[in-house]
Symmetry: C2
Subunit: 184 residues, 2 copies
DNA sequence: TGTGTACTCTTTAGCATTGAAATTTATCTT
DNA sequence: AAGATAAATTTCAATGCTAAAGAGTACACA
């Protein structure tokens, strides 16, 4: 899991960091750098916060990711290990071990698919679903607090802008030189 | 390092995901969820892109992080291992090993501080600085492409909004229940 | 029916990370 | 000056990840 550790301290402020970049690299567009750096820092801080919350519930951030994927798949909350692995960006091997741990903790069950015995079905237990719900409640409180300074209009604009950026990275692939070129 | 792996595939669209969340969790504010999910996805995609670029230069994303921290510290590009560790959010132990590798590759040097022999000084080599510069050039091209759909005004608004969110997480600490409360 | 091929999951070996203990050097107290 | 305490780094054992090899099952096609 990415950058979930706590205490990010003695870090320069965003402004100091951008000033330092400009000193060392003249071609830098400070506006672009501000967006990119803020994005990355924000994400790191948020992951730390989520990590603290899930830890308080006795699960790891990694386990929460699995619970989320299963719930999002909809009732009856079943997925195969390789689907889960693709969804979370893990190798199937890592998924095997992660599921091992979660079965031992009673968050999911693992059984063979009787109609195709190559396949394995991972299914959320009621306990797993309950954990997800508790984590979800904490997460929404945190997220609402995070955004409390933004008016509904500002939220709309922000969501719109981020979605546009996301579409750009998702529908484009960097070429050999790293340039983003449209696929459609 | 966080979520730097490639191929994030067979993922539901952002819209599908939010619809699924609303089905499973009625209290969800779709506007908030849109922002938070887009942020997290965007960051993941960007890390994948950066990873591809640094890999093309023969360094890992982890090594790039160290190079960035050293350059940002300004000439003469020296830092102690524990400062680097704090800056990158790693344990000192991990820093020791990472520096080992980078010394072996000639990106940095490690020597004892003669004025206080407990301390160690990690210093960027000219080769390390050159690698940073190459990575920086690729990164700025990617970042400019990423933001190409946003007008200068939109960029300003976006940067401003993200900075505001960042200030909120940085100056606030979640309490036992996970609420963000101001420190100032 | 039998064999080849493809697919899914697990096992194995290697690597980066963490947390805790150990090591080395500096500083404080008397 | 001696001994205790503190600080910075490294060493060590355990964890979770990746990549690649292995095992088991289903399906196609002769």
């Amino acid at each position: 899991m990415a950058d979930t550790r706590g205490a990010i301290s003695s870090e320069p402020t965003l402004e100091e960091q951008i000033a330092a970049y400009q000193r060392e690299f003249q071609d830098l567009d400070p506006q672009v750098e501000k967006i990119v750096s803020a994005l990355s820092r924000l994400n790191r801080r948020m992951n730390v916060a989520y990590g603290r919350q899930t830890a308080a519930l006795g699960i790891s951030n990694a386990e929460w990711e699995v619970l989320k994927a299963l719930v999002l798949s909809g009732a009856p909350y079943r997925m195969g290990p390789s689907d889960l692995a693709k969804r979370l960006g893990l190798t199937p091997a890592a998924m095997t071990h992660r599921i091992d741990r979660m079965v031992a903790e009673g968050l999911v069950t693992r059984e063979r698919d009787e109609s195709n015995r190559v396949r394995v079905i991972v299914e959320l237990t009621p306990e797993g679903r309950e954990k997800w719900l508790e984590a979800m409640r904490l997460a929404t409180v945190f997220e609402e607090d995070l955004l409390q300074d933004l008016s509904p209009e500002e939220r709309t604009v922000l969501g719109e802008a981020l979605t546009r950026l996301l579409r750009r990275v998702e529908h484009a692939q960097p070429d050999a030189g790293g340039r983003l070129t449209d696929l459609d």
